[in-house]
């Protein structure tokens, strides 16, 4: 399945008002599905990560001492939705960070994988994936298929 455009998503939502799986991810748009039956939200880390995300909203300008922008509250809200989508049984805890451009970066460095999702106000949402077992390494735009790949990989205990 190819990544959908925003227009595709609008059309899809117009036709089907039910929640759908994540089909598109950008700094201003995200659509998340109901969780799978066997994957209800339960990780103990979710509250901690949400608290940390909320804290990012209060960072002042120049919080990094190099001229960083304040964090876009809308991006934080999108990041929270995405984190909830990842919060299934067996999922290791991510860490979340402010970015100098006013966005949020979600990271995992565990289970022989390095994964980073950068949500930025300028709509670009690259996903970086590096499997340390196989050497597979790529950076792709945020899309359903890329997100499914990284979630599946993070749930694989290798």
């Amino acid at each position: 399945m190819n990544a959908l455009t925003e227009r595709d998503i609008v059309l899809k939502l117009d036709r089907d008002p039910r929640p759908v799986a994540i089909e598109y991810l950008s700094g201003s748009s995200i659509t998340v599905s109901d969780q799978l039956p066997e994957s209800a939200i339960s990780p103990t880390w979710l509250g901690r990560v949400k608290t940390r995300l909320k804290g990012l909203k209060s960072l002042p300008p120049d919080w990094d001492s190099y001229g960083a922008a304040p964090i876009d509250p809308g991006v934080v809200d999108l990041a929270e939705k995405l984190v909830e989508w990842f919060a299934v049984d067996g999922m290791p805890s991510p860490d979340v960070f402010a970015t100098a451009e006013g966005g949020v970066q979600i990271e995992w460095h565990i289970r022989r994988a390095n994964i980073e999702i950068a949500i930025s106000p300028d709509e670009k949402t690259p996903i970086y994936f590096h499997d340390l077992n196989t050497g597979e390494e790529w950076t792709k735009p945020g899309s359903s298929i890329a997100l499914q790949i990284v979630r599946r990989r993070l749930l694989t205990n290798v």
């Binding site: 805890s93 860490d95 970066q105 460095h109 980073e116 690259p126 970086y128 590096h130």
Partner: protein
């Protein structure tokens, strides 16, 4: 960058230290490596609000400088570093960039081109990952801070 193509400064020796301040909380525990690493987001170009141009990563050129000087006036920050030679191995350049309010200020920038002949205006994800993974803690977290960080993302 206002069309500026930054040039690697050969007067900065391969063994010279290059430092970057890391704000509180902008680090995580790498369970693959068994150590704390700064988030890779610390090592990306920023956008100049006035011009809209991308600007390279600010650094401190540490040769002859006490590490504490780089954190002067920045409580809660830590300091990471590499050698200039290591950065060049990652296809990064370094140069002086004197600033009135920053000691030994310099810039770190990509030497990669895309397309050929045109310098990139961001550091690629793989290179930022290597920067994060290989960063040495010049002024590190305490053992207690590291353990708390490890537990926060450990699998129960």
């Amino acid at each position: 960058m206002n069309g500026v193509v930054y040039q690697d400064d050969p007067s900065i020796s391969a063994g010279d230290p290059v430092w970057r301040r890391i704000p509180s909380g902008q680090w995580t525990y790498d369970h693959n490596e068994g150590r704390v690493r700064p988030s890779s987001q610390n090592f990306q170009y920023t956008t100049n609000k006035e011009t809209g141009e991308k600007e390279p990563v600010s650094i401190t050129l540490g040769q002859g400088l006490a590490p504490e000087a780089a954190l002067d006036g920045h409580p809660g920050f830590k300091l990471v570093g590499w050698t200039a030679g290591h950065l060049r191995w990652l296809e990064l350049g370094v140069c002086h960039d004197e600033q009135p309010d920053a000691v030994a200020h310099g810039l770190m920038f990509t030497l990669q081109e895309d397309p050929p002949g045109t310098r990139k205006t961001k550091i690629s994800n793989p290179v930022r990952d290597r920067l994060s993974k290989t960063a040495e803690w010049v002024i590190p977290l305490s053992a207690e801070e590291i353990e708390a960080l490890r537990l926060s993302t450990a699998i129960p």
